[in-house]
């Protein structure tokens, strides 16, 4: 199939002004300028398989201004040009990726200002749709031999940088833990008396209550490159790689009867 070069840009979010707090020894002498960032189209470059993105900021900076840009994720991003108010970069045509673009600038006697914007660029063959079948097989036994939702999230901290943001949030994030506190069974072995834990493979369960020891020591096949989770409600359970999004993870709990 011939992939006709297309450009799909969408301004998703925009933070008008985010002025970093100045050092205590540098009192602000003038109010920060209002900054804006605009994502504009650029000509399709001759490079096949790439799209070009241009982000322009305003107001125009004076000659004595200092600035820098960064684009994240930076993998496969090629900076074509950048100056005080404009950055042009190329990214692969496929797949579509949301990039965060940040512009930090400071003019003499002015407060530093930071402007961020997000841009979705690229398109191409889409990944196959996520299976709609429920991931939980009700015939699988629960890893926990007690009623109520309990779970163990396995992760490798040095691989966490490669996990999705939702996976990282599910391992360490407070909002996710608040969710788990609402749905998990009472369990005095754990903080707030709720039955969930986040551990790395090889954890020492020798002093753990039998319920947890048994669940943790059952044979499992941890994935080498993804976080893993086991969940049970006392009757049925789930064991497998942690899905990439919070919604998918929540669905597993919901399928096992979790009620918020």
């Amino acid at each position: 199939m011939t992939c006709k070069p297309l450009l799909a840009l969408l301004l998703l979010a925009f933070t008008p002004v985010h002025a970093d707090v100045p050092a205590k020894s540098s009192p602000v002498k003038a109010p920060p300028k209002a900054g804006t960032a605009t994502v504009v189209k650029e000509d399709i470059p001759p490079t096949e398989g790439a799209v070009r993105v241009t982000v322009v900021t305003s107001p125009k900076l004076t000659d004595d201004a200092t600035y820098f840009w960064d684009v994240y994720p930076e993998d496969e991003v090629t900076i074509v040009s950048e100056d005080a108010n404009k950055i042009v970069f190329e990214v692969p045509m496929t797949p579509e990726v949301e990039y965060s673009v940040r512009w930090v600038a400071k003019e003499a006697k002015q407060k530093q200002q930071t402007v961020r914007t997000k841009v979705k660029a690229g398109h191409g063959p889409q990944p196959p749709p996520t299976p709609v079948d429920p991931p939980v097989d009700p015939t699988k036994p629960s890893p926990f031999e007690a009623p109520g939702i309990r779970s163990i999230f396995y992760f490798r901290d040095m691989d966490m940088m490669n996990y999705t943001p939702d996976q990282r949030a599910a391992i360490l994030g407070v909002p996710w833990r608040e969710y788990l506190k609402r749905i998990c069974a009472d369990d005095t072995a754990l903080a707030s008396g709720k039955g969930f834990t986040m551990i790395q493979p090889g954890g020492d369960f020798s002093l753990a209550p039998a319920l947890w020891k048994k669940a943790a020591e059952r044979p499992t096949s941890l994935s080498a490159d993804a976080p893993w989770m086991i969940v049970g409600n006392g009757k049925s359970g789930f064991e497998g790689p942690m899905p990439k999004t919070t919604a998918e993870i929540k669905k597993i709990f919901k399928d096992l009867g979790a009620v918020e």
């Binding site: 970093d20 205590k24 833990r177 551990i199 002093l207 947890w212």
Partner: protein, 265 residues
Amino acid sequence: MADFDINSVIDVDDPANNDRLFPADKGRGFDPSKVVKAMFAPPSDIKVIPRNEWPARLEEQLANKTSCMDYGAEIAPLDQAQSNYCWGHSSTGGTMFVRARMNLPYVPLSAYSVAATLMKGANEGGWCGLSAKFIRETGVCSQAIWPQGDFKYAKYQNNPDAQKSFAAHKITLDFADLSKDVYDQNLSFDMVATCLLLGIPCAVDFNWWSHSVLAVRLVQVEAGSYGIEIRNSWGKSWENNGNGILRGSKAIPDGAIAFRQATFA
């Protein structure tokens, strides 16, 4: 990215801050005299996050509340009082935070149980590498059994409850440069930053301060300039509820241990 109190950033070169950094009524106790500057062989497992990713990762950490200070918000600062046991408090604090990371129950732990046992009751300085080794091998006792401030180590030696508590609070996984002596085990600033971005607390020793504290969060003080938020062991009244921010060269540790997992108990 001003997610911290700017007043917590301590300008350590400003003599006006000496009262904040060297209060007369607080002890320290890290002993830099034995630290030997040498080439550092990093623990090979640490995959350092490049600096150009730090701003985005910090934004994500802020949005999803995944820092040590988020999941460990319940943990009260320890207070070493006038003892020289800062080096025991930094590692003990790390143990409490890593337990919170695992969603284990909050148990106030006694840094005195570590330091007083190691020093046989003497009020002496040390290093986080020494206390971390002890907690790795023996554990740390709860304050309910061994109160803070109690140097009398002998009375706990044959106390079964104390021994049980020690065993329940061990560090089972950490980053420590075991090829070095305990007083010379260190991590680079970028390694500590990587750990903090991954929600891993790090005990850090500073020669300039003769002090050992717990690093709990990476902070972007201003564009391109990073500091570390530390949990001190001078109680809740110090700085911002016991926490402050060190930056620049004064944030580069001379000794460091990262705490990654504790006994499930």
